[in-house]
C-alpha cells in the first residue's frame, strides 16, 4: 500500500474519471511549449501540423490562432533579425 502511495501520491491512479487518457500529453504540451524559463536564443517550433510562431531572440511564442486578428504568423525557417 505504501509503495503504491509513493508512486501515486494523489491516490488517483486508475481513476479514469479524474485523469483523462490524454492528460499526460496535454500537460506535456502545456508545460513545455507554453511555460518554462525562456532564454535568449532561437525557437523553431512546429508540432503535429499546428502552426507555431518562429521567433528570434527572447520573444514570446504563441499558437498562431491566438494572434490578434489580421496578424500573419511567420513560418518556421524564416531568418531571425538578430545575429
Amino acid at each position: 500500500m505504501s509503495d503504491r502511495r509513493d508512486r501515486d501520491p494523489l491516490g488517483l491512479e486508475g481513476d479514469g474519471e479524474v485523469l483523462p487518457p490524454d492528460t499526460s500529453l496535454l500537460d506535456l504540451v502545456d508545460n513545455l511549449l507554453d511555460k518554462g524559463l525562456l532564454i535568449h536564443g532561437d525557437l523553431v517550433l512546429g508540432l503535429a501540423g499546428v502552426d507555431l510562431v518562429y521567433v528570434g531572440l527572447s520573444a514570446m511564442i504563441c499558437a498562431a490562432d491566438r494572434l490578434l486578428p489580421g496578424e500573419r504568423p511567420s513560418r518556421p525557417g524564416e531568418p531571425s533579425d538578430e545575429r
Binding site: 499526460s24 496535454l26 500537460d27 525562456l38 532564454i39 523553431v44
Partner: protein, 237 residues
C-alpha cells in the same frame, strides 16, 4: 553545426549519473556554470525534430534532474543556440533573479488542476494601481483578462490553498473543453496531505469535473518575476 539545447537551471550540478540525451539526438549533457547556479544543456549534433518524442525526451531529462536537485527551473522546449555561451551569458546576467526563482521552487513540485465545468469566469478584480502610462495600463488590463476570477474557488479550494506555496490560475483552452486551469506549487512534504484534500475538493463539486495531474517539475513557476499569489495561511511552507 553543434546545437546547444537548454534543459534546466539547477541550484547545483546534478549527481554524476548517466543522463541520456539520446531521446533528443546524438550528443552529451553538459553543465554550464552561471555563478550561483548551473545550466544543464544537451550538446547535440543538430537540433531535434520537433515531435512528441522530443517533447517526452526533454521532459524526461528535466524530471531526472528534478529528482536529484532540490531546486530546478525547467527551460521551455526549443531554446537552442549555436554556441553554449549564447545560452549561458544571458542567464549569468540574471543570476540573482534566477537564485531567487530557485528559492521559490526549492523542494516543491507542480500539480496542474483543470476544470471542465463549473461557473462562468470573470476577470480578476481591478485593484488600485500606481500611476503609469497607457502602455502600462494596457498590460495591466491584459493581465487581468488572462487571470480569471473563478467564482467560489477561494472557498472550495481553501484546504488545498493552505498547503500551497503558490498558485497561478489561467483561462482554459476551449479547444479541449477546459474551463480554467490552476498550477499549484506544492512542497514535496505536503504531497500526501494535498492528495487527500484534492479528493475531497473534487468530490465536493462534481459538476466542476476537476482533474489533478501528476506531480512534475515546476514549469509554470520557472519564469523570473512570475506572480506568486500565495493563498491560504499555510502557504510558502
Amino acid at each position: 553545426m553543434k546545437a546547444w539545447w537548454a534543459l534546466a537551471v539547477v541550484d547545483r550540478p546534478p549527481a554524476p549519473r548517466p543522463l541520456d540525451p539520446s531521446g533528443l539526438g546524438t550528443g552529451s549533457l553538459e553543465i554550464l556554470d552561471l555563478g550561483g547556479c548551473s545550466l544543464v544543456v544537451a550538446a547535440l549534433d543538430r537540433a531535434p525534430a520537433v515531435d512528441v518524442d522530443a517533447l517526452r525526451a526533454h521532459d524526461a531529462i528535466v524530471r531526472a534532474l528534478a529528482e536529484s536537485a532540490e531546486a530546478v527551473l525547467p527551460v521551455r522546449f526549443g531554446c537552442v543556440a549555436a554556441r553554449a555561451d549564447d545560452l549561458a551569458s544571458p542567464l549569468r546576467a540574471r543570476e540573482a533573479v534566477l537564485r531567487e526563482a530557485l528559492g521559490r521552487v526549492r523542494g516543491a513540485v507542480q500539480i496542474t488542476v483543470r476544470a471542465l465545468g463549473g461557473p462562468a469566469l470573470g476577470d480578476a478584480p481591478e485593484t488600485p494601481e500606481p500611476e503609469g502610462g497607457p502602455g502600462a495600463r494596457f498590460l495591466r488590463r491584459r493581465a487581468r483578462a488572462l487571470t480569471p476570477n473563478v467564482p467560489g474557488w477561494g472557498a472550495i479550494g481553501a484546504e488545498l490553498h493552505a498547503l500551497l506555496r503558490a498558485e497561478l490560475v489561467e483561462r482554459g483552452d476551449p479547444r479541449t473543453g477546459e474551463r480554467w486551469r490552476a498550477y499549484h506549487l506544492v512542497p514535496r512534504a505536503s504531497l500526501r496531505e494535498y492528495g487527500d484534500a484534492a479528493a475531497r475538493v473534487r468530490a465536493s463539486v462534481p459538476d466542476w469535473s476537476l482533474t489533478f495531474g501528476a506531480p512534475g517539475p515546476p514549469y509554470a513557476f520557472a519564469a523570473e518575476g512570475g506572480p506568486l499569489e500565495a493563498r491560504g495561511a499555510g502557504a510558502r511552507a
